[in-house]
C-alpha cells in the first residue's frame, strides 16, 4: 500500500470515528445549525459543533497545510486533496469559519517571527481566538494607504488613536489585525505598520453599523489611547503596506470563491437556485421558464457563470499564478453574484422586494436581504473599479497618468 493509500484509509477511519452525526450530510434537520466562528465568547446551539471544532483543531486539520510545529496538520498537497475528498464523501461540515484562517494566518506564516507564529497560529486554527480586520477608515476607503489611525512610539509599547470602519464582526471578535500609521504621511505607503491588537485592551470600543439589508455584519471600531505591546508588530516598522497588500490578495481570493461557491451551488450558501425561483414565480412550460425575456437573460447569465467557473478551474490546473488573476476573480466573482441576485429579485416580481410580515414567504424575504447584501461585495476588499485599475496596471502594463 502506498503512503497515500495508507493516509486515505487512516483519514477515512478517523473521520468515521470523530465526525459527529449532526456534522454530516443527512443530519437530523431538527438539530440547530451553528455558524461556527469560534472565539472567547462563542456560543453553540448544538454541542457537537464545538466537539467537531475541537477534534479538527486538535488534529490541525482546520489548516491542514500549516506545519505541525504551529499546530497545523502538516499535510502535503496530495494529502489535503484526500482529506477534502473524504470529508466531501461523508458531507462533513467545515468545522470553523475564520478570518484568522483565510487572511491572517497566511501572512503570519510569511512575515511573522517565530514567537508570533507560535503564539497566534495555534489559537487561530483551534478557533480559540476570533479575529477581525482593521483596514478601512472613514476617510480611507479605496485610497487605503491614506489611513491616519496613529500608533506613536511610547517606549515599550505603541499608543494607538483613531478609528476603523467596516470591521467585520468586530463586536464579536477577540483580536484585530490593523494597519496603523507609524511614519510620515508622505509618501503615504511608507509610513504604515501592521499590528495585532487585543480587543480587550482598555480604550478599544466597537459600534455596529446597520446596512441597507437591515443587518449589521460590520462595525466601527474606535481606539482611544490604546497601549499595544511592541512585540505585536508584524514585520518591519513602516513596512506594513507590503503585508497589507498580500493579505488583500488572500481576502480577494476568498471573496471571489464565495461568489463561485454560490454559482456552483446554484445560489450560494442559501441554496437559492435562479432557475427554480424563475419557474416558481413566472411559471413553467415544457420544462422551460415560461417568460422568454427572463429566460434569455437567465441563460446569458448562466453561460457567463459557467465560463467563469471553468476559468477558476483552469487557473487551478495551471498551478494558480494567483496574484495576476486574483483581481479578475474578485471582480467577476462579485459582479456575477450581484447580477444573479438582481435576476432572482426581478424574476420574483413583487415577492422579490418583500421586507417583512406574514404575507410573504420567508424565502422571499430572505432573498430581499441577501440581494441588498451583495451590493457590498463589489465594494469590500477593493471595489470593482480598483480591481480594474489593478488589471490595467499590473497585468496589461498600461501607463500611469
Amino acid at each position: 500500500m502506498s503512503n497515500l493509500d495508507k493516509f486515505r484509509t487512516e483519514t477515512k477511519k478517523w473521520l468515521d470515528e470523530n465526525c459527529p452525526p449532526s456534522m454530516r450530510s443527512g443530519a437530523d434537520p431538527s438539530i440547530p445549525v451553528d455558524e461556527v466562528w469560534g472565539g472567547r465568547n462563542a456560543e453553540y446551539k448544538n454541542p457537537e459543533s464545538k466537539l467537531w471544532l475541537d477534534r479538527m483543531g486538535e488534529k490541525g486539520w482546520t489548516m491542514p497545510t500549516v506545519p505541525k510545529e504551529y499546530g497545523g496538520g502538516g499535510l502535503n498537497k496530495e494529502e489535503v486533496k484526500i482529506l477534502n475528498e473524504e470529508m466531501f464523501l461523508i458531507g462533513a461540515r467545515q468545522p470553523l469559519l475564520s478570518f484568522g484562517i483565510w487572511m491572517l494566518a497566511p501572512v503570519l506564516l510569511e512575515y511573522g517571527n517565530e514567537a508570533q507564529k507560535k503564539e497566534h497560529i495555534p489559537k487561530i486554527l483551534k478557533g480559540e481566538i476570533r479575529w477581525c480586520q482593521g483596514y478601512s477608515e472613514p476617510g480611507s476607503g479605496s485610497d487605503l494607504a491614506s489611513l491616519s489611525t496613529k500608533a506613536e512610539d511610547a517606549g515599550d509599547h505603541f499608543l494607538v488613536n483613531g478609528q476603523k470602519v467596516w470591521t467585520s464582526y468586530a463586536d464579536k471578535a477577540d483580536w484585530i489585525f490593523a494597519l496603523v500609521r507609524t511614519g510620515a504621511k508622505e509618501p503615504k505607503h511608507d509610513g504604515i505598520s501592521f499590528v495585532l491588537i487585543d480587543m480587550a485592551t482598555k480604550g478599544v470600543s466597537t459600534k455596529p453599523i446597520t446596512l441597507i439589508s437591515g443587518k449589521s455584519p460590520f462595525c466601527e471600531t474606535f481606539f482611544d489611547n490604546v497601549e499595544v505591546p511592541k512585540e505585536n508588530l508584524i514585520g518591519e516598522l513602516n513596512a506594513g503596506w507590503t503585508i497589507a497588500k498580500k493579505l488583500l490578495q488572500h481576502e480577494r481570493a476568498f471573496i471571489s470563491n464565495f461568489g463561485l461557491a454560490g454559482a456552483a451551488a446554484g445560489g450560494g450558501r442559501s441554496g437559492r437556485d435562479i432557475v427554480s425561483i424563475a419557474k416558481k414565480h413566472l411559471g413553467e412550460e415544457n420544462g422551460k421558464i415560461k417568460n422568454s425575456f427572463y429566460r434569455t437573460e437567465i441563460a446569458s447569465h448562466k453561460i457567463k457563470e459557467h465560463a467563469f467557473g471553468l476559468t477558476l478551474k483552469r487557473a487551478g490546473d495551471e498551478g494558480g499564478k494567483a496574484s495576476a488573476t486574483a483581481s479578475m476573480f474578485k471582480l467577476y466573482g462579485t459582479e456575477h453574484n450581484k447580477k444573479r441576485h438582481e435576476l432572482m429579485v426581478a424574476a420574483s416580481g413583487v415577492d422579490g422586494v418583500a421586507w417583512d410580515g406574514d404575507e410573504f414567504d420567508q424565502d422571499d424575504k430572505n432573498l430581499t436581504r441577501a440581494w441588498l447584501r451583495t451590493k457590498g461585495n463589489s465594494i469590500e476588499g477593493g471595489t470593482s473599479e480598483v480591481q480594474l485599475n489593478v488589471i490595467s496596471k499590473r497585468v496589461l502594463n498600461l501607463p500611469s497618468q
Binding site: A299, L396, L398
Partner: protein, 379 residues
C-alpha cells in the same frame, strides 16, 4: 478533465504561431483580397500546411493522418486566425476529416481520407438554407428513386463552397421542415453537372458560396452515416465545427486586443499616452477578463470533444456563445480605440471587425447557442 494543453498540443500551437507570423502575416490576406483571388486562399500556403501534416490531424494513422485530436487542430486554427490566415483547414481539415473519419464507410474512408491528408481533396459542409443557421429547417429533398436518390434544393453560405471538391450535404429524406428527424447526409462530387455554385462576396473576403442542386442522382453509397439519422450526425459534426470556429474567433479576438493594447501604449493625445486614460483602461481590463473566460470555455470544449464527454453539446454552445460575444466586444472596441485610422481600409484592424461579424454567423450565432444552452440545461 484538465484544462491545460498537452506538450504535443503546445508544440502544434507554437509551430502554427511561427508559421502564421512568417508565412502569412495579415498582408498575405490583404493581397488575396486586393487581387480578387477567385478562391481567396493560396494553394502554395495550403501545400505547406499539408507538409506540416495539418489536414491529417483528425485522421487515423492508417490513412496517413496523425490523430492528434480536436484540441490539436483547434489551437492551430486559433494561431492562424491571429493573422487572418485564409485556408481550407477549417472546412477540410476539421469538417471533412472529422465527418468521414467518424461516420464514413470503409470505402469512403479509403477513397477520401488519404487525399485529404495529401491536400489533393478539399471539402465543404452544406447545411444552411436561409440567412439564419438552423439545421432543423432543412427543406432540400433527397427523393428515393429505386436504388438511387434524387437531390434537389439550395444551400446557402457554404464555407469554402466556391472551391471545395467534395460536398457534405444535409437533405430531407422524410418528414417536414422544422424536424431534426428524416434527414440524411450525402457526399456529393462538386463537379456534378447538376451543381451550380454561386460565389458569395462577403464582408470578410473569404470563400463562400450558395449552391443549387438540380436533380443530382446518387446511390446509397453516397450516404454518410445512416439514412434518416443524418440530423444527429450533422449535429455532432457541427458541434466539432463550432468548437473549431470558436477557437478561431478567440485567436481573432486575442490579436485584435493585442494590437489595440499596443496602440494605447503608443498613441499620444493631450500630451500623454491615451493608455493612461482610465476611461480606456477599464474597458481594456474588461476585455482582458472576457478573453480569459473565452480561453477557458474554448479549452474546455476542445478537451470535452477529445475525451468524448457527455458535456460536449453544452460546452460547444457555451464556447460559440462566449467566443461570439467576446469577439463582438473586442472588434468594436478595437476600432473605436484606434480612432480615425480604425475606420480606414489601409489599417488592418477593420479586417477583424468584418471577420468577426461573419464568423459570428457560422454554425449559429450567440443568440442561437444561448437558446440551445438553455434547452440542454433543462430550463
Amino acid at each position: 478533465m484538465k484544462l491545460i494543453l498537452t506538450e504535443e498540443e503546445q508544440f502544434l500551437k507554437d509551430t502554427a504561431k511561427n508559421f502564421a507570423e512568417e508565412r502569412c502575416p495579415i498582408s498575405h490576406f490583404r493581397s488575396l483580397r486586393d487581387n480578387n483571388d477567385p478562391i481567396l486562399w493560396d494553394k502554395e500556403i495550403w501545400k505547406e500546411m499539408t507538409t506540416l501534416g495539418w489536414p491529417g490531424i483528425l485522421i487515423p494513422e492508417e490513412y496517413g493522418g496523425s490523430n492528434f485530436g480536436i484540441t490539436g487542430i483547434s489551437v492551430i486554427l486559433g494561431e492562424c486566425a491571429k493573422t487572418l490566415t485564409p485556408s481550407p483547414l477549417f472546412a477540410t481539415g476539421v469538417l471533412g476529416a472529422f465527418s468521414i473519419t467518424n461516420f464514413g464507410s470503409s470505402e469512403q474512408k479509403q477513397n477520401y481520407l488519404p487525399k485529404i491528408v495529401s491536400g489533393e481533396l478539399t471539402t465543404a459542409l452544406a447545411i444552411d438554407e436561409s440567412s439564419h443557421h438552423n439545421p432543423a429547417n432543412t427543406e432540400m429533398t433527397a427523393k428515393k428513386d429505386g436504388k438511387n436518390f434524387i437531390l434537389n434544393g439550395k444551400k446557402t453560405f457554404v464555407v469554402d463552397g466556391a472551391s471545395a471538391d467534395l460536398l457534405i450535404v444535409l437533405a430531407r429524406t422524410s418528414g417536414n421542415k422544422g424536424e431534426m428527424s428524416g434527414l440524411t447526409l450525402f457526399l456529393i462530387d462538386s463537379n456534378d453537372p447538376g451543381i451550380e455554385k454561386i460565389k458569395l462576396d462577403m464582408a470578410d473576403s473569404r470563400n463562400y458560396a450558395n449552391i443549387n442542386f438540380n436533380n443530382i442522382k446518387v446511390d446509397a453509397k453516397s450516404i454518410l452515416g445512416d439514412e434518416e439519422t443524418g440530423g444527429e450526425t450533422a449535429e455532432n459534426i457541427l458541434d466539432i465545427g463550432r468548437i473549431a470556429i470558436a477557437s478561431e474567433m478567440l485567436g481573432n479576438a486575442e490579436a485584435a486586443f493585442e494590437t489595440t493594447l499596443d496602440y494605447l501604449k503608443q498613441r499620444k493625445q493631450f500630451g500623454v499616452l491615451i493608455g493612461s486614460f482610465q476611461a480606456l483602461q477599464h474597458r481594456a481590463a474588461e476585455m482582458f477578463c472576457e478573453l480569459e473566460l473565452t480561453k477557458s470555455s474554448v479549452l474546455a470544449a476542445m478537451k470535452a470533444a477529445d475525451e468524448g464527454s457527455n458535456e460536449l453539446q453544452r460546452l460547444s454552445s457555451l464556447s460559440k456563445t462566449i467566443a461570439g460575444e467576446t469577439l463582438h466586444l473586442v472588434s468594436n472596441e478595437a476600432v473605436q480605440m484606434h480612432g480615425g485610422i480604425g475606420v480606414t481600409d489601409e489599417y488592418d484592424i477593420g479586417f477583424f471587425l468584418k471577420r468577426a461579424r461573419v464568423a459570428e454567423q457560422i454554425f449559429g450565432s450567440s443568440k442561437f447557442h444561448t437558446e440551445r444552452y438553455a434547452n440542454i440545461s433543462g430550463f
